[in-house]
């Protein structure tokens, strides 16, 4: 039973990363019509920025500030990519955006691999602030039926909060209404006096920032590696396909659900744990080609 709960937790952790990443992909796809293959690379960059902040002798900035700084730094990097390259693809076939971002991902990962090799760099779980008997997010709690490492619990809960916050921003606020409207008819939204190109840039920054946030969250669990995003992004694309491209809530629910399904498979039939997501994808595509929550394109 202990092992089952442990795998469920691993599933929830992976699900958190799937949800944060596929959420960003969904937002970017909705607004820019670009399938952002560079998403894994910017996820990795988020982890690296946190690593640099901590290990730079002059800065020595820890986990908590990094949680805010890294997404902003990587988000700005993303906005520069959008302004200098992606914006010129507006109106072209999806394939161009896919190829360009795929090339960018290879370049970014190649540069990092050149300087840092392929092995993992350590990033410690934060040991501050000390509250009660706890040292930051280190250690764990015995829940009776299982031992819960605090950091892992934190990742799941924090990711859920960020996902729901993003959903609220897009589906329930005025800014979100601009976003949704501009996804449908950017020309008309612009003719109402809204600077749509600037909104597109900011949206790309938001999606990329969410990926970088996931990167920081994952640094203490998975270490910091130049190729850490490469394998993850393939699964995340399957999640997006299953959830339905462009659907916000669909991305979140599917991300967490597939993480859990993967975790359960690891317990009941470990041999299939690497493929279960893709089997699921094939089944969904056979029955509902637009994905579980997707609208027909």
């Amino acid at each position: 039973m202990q092992a089952l709960y442990a795998q469920l937790l691993v599933g929830l952790i992976n699900g958190s990363f799937y949800a944060l990443l596929s959420l960003g992909l969904a937002v970017i796809f909705g607004m820019l019509n670009i399938i952002n293959f560079a998403h894994g690379a910017v996820y990795m960059m988020g982890a690296f920025v946190a690593y640099f902040l901590l290990n730079n002798t002059y800065l020595s900035i820890g986990y908590w500030p990094a949680l805010i700084i890294a997404p902003i730094v990587v988000g700005i990097f993303g906005m520069i990519l959008e302004r200098t390259m992606l914006q010129w693809l507006a109106g072209l076939d999806h394939l161009y955006g896919l190829l360009l971002t795929f090339g960018l991902a290879l370049i970014i990962q190649g540069v990092f691999q050149n300087y840092f090799g392929s092995s993992g760099l350590p990033y410690a779980i934060p040991d501050y602030p000390a509250i009660g008997g706890f040292h930051g997010l280190q250690g764990g709690i015995n829940l009776g039926f299982m031992f819960l490492p605090i950091y892992r619990g934190w990742v799941v809960i924090f990711s859920l909060v960020v996902c729901i916050g993003t959903w609220y921003l897009i589906e329930r606020t005025r800014l979100g209404a601009y976003l949704r409207a501009a996804t449908e008819n950017p020309t008309l939204v612009r003719a109402f006096g809204i600077n749509v190109p600037r909104m597109i840039t900011l949206t790309y920054g938001l999606g990329v920032g969410l990926a970088a946030l996931a990167g920081v969250l994952s640094a203490p669990i998975n270490q910091v590696r130049p190729l850490m995003g490469e394998n993850l992004i393939i699964v995340v694309f399957a999640v997006v396909v299953i959830g339905g491209m462009g659907s916000i809530m669909g991305s979140i629910v599917t991300g967490f659900t597939l993480g859990v399904i993967e975790g359960l498979t690891k317990y009941f039939y470990p041999e299939a744990s690497n493929t279960v997501v893709f089997v699921f994808m094939v089944l969904v595509l056979l029955v509902k080609p637009t994905g579980l929550t997707g609208r027909a394109a």
Binding site: Y178, R180, A181, T183, N185, R190, A191, F192
Partner: protein
């Protein structure tokens, strides 16, 4: 001094022109659609562009709004040249556009659709005033935008640009495909807006409707303005009009 008087008379209309379009040419990709459009709209006027399908009326409105890729010539609004401005800047100067296809957003509810266009200046209608004009909308605020009837969607499309404070409205075929009783309601609305000092540029195929609200007409054909007359001259021009519109 008769000369001076004449000069004054000639200068006066130019001062009160809200929009003046001179030799406007526009292209959709490679195809040349407008071949030299000339017309003026004075403050507080309702001016209607008439013409057959494909004559270039909608393209003219879109060119003024800045959403046609390539345009040359001169478009002046409130004395400022806007031919090269982007559409968001043009909107912020106080021009509001209600497109032919209405442009109601399906992923937004009625309230969100209504509140979408940002306020560009003071003096727009309040929500109460809007609900006074279009009582139907008040009851449908939480419905999905595209679940409304065609008439309600048209009202929503007009209502949302009245909030923004823009005093110059461009309405592209607001009566298209609507029942007579709703056309009448839209006619009353336009008349009331005119009374409140809005300037309106209307595109219509239905000149019987246009004749109930318009001060002046311009005839558009093959991407050019080929004729123009005041509403008072309508009956004298009826034969010509029938030829132009082929009705």
């Amino acid at each position: 001094m008769p000369e001076l008087k004449m000069a004054e008379a000639a200068a006066k209309p130019a001062d009160t022109q809200v929009l003046s379009v001179n030799d406007l040419q526009a292209w959709y990709g490679e195809s040349h659609i407008l071949h030299g459009i000339n017309f003026n709209v004075g403050a507080g006027e309702v001016v209607t562009l008439l013409g057959r399908n494909g004559a270039g009326k909608t393209t003219t409105l879109k060119s003024v709004m800045g959403i046609i890729g390539k345009r040359t010539g001169s478009i002046r609004f409130d004395g400022k040249e806007i031919t090269r401005a982007s559409s968001d800047k043009i909107a912020r100067m106080g021009i509001a556009f209600c497109p032919e296809e209405r442009g109601i957003f399906s992923s937004l509810d009625v309230r969100e659709n209504l509140l979408l266009p940002p306020i560009v200046r003071t003096g727009g209608l309040s929500l109460d005033q809007i609900f006074d004009l279009f009582p139907n909308l008040k009851e449908r605020l939480n419905s999905q935008g595209t679940k409304l009837s065609g008439g309600e969607q048209q009202m929503l499309a007009i209502a949302r640009i009245l909030r923004t404070g823009a005093r110059f409205l461009m309405l592209d075929e607001p009566t298209e495909g609507l029942a007579p009783v709703i056309i009448q309601q839209i006619g009353h609305t336009i008349a009331r807006l005119k009374k409140e000092g809005f300037t309106i540029l209307l595109v219509e195929q239905n000149f019987r409707f246009a004749s109930t609200v318009a001060d002046r007409y311009y005839i558009v054909e093959h991407g050019k303005v080929i004729d123009g007359f005041a509403n008072s001259e309508l009956s004298a021009n009826m034969d010509k009009l029938h030829t132009y519109l082929g009705v």
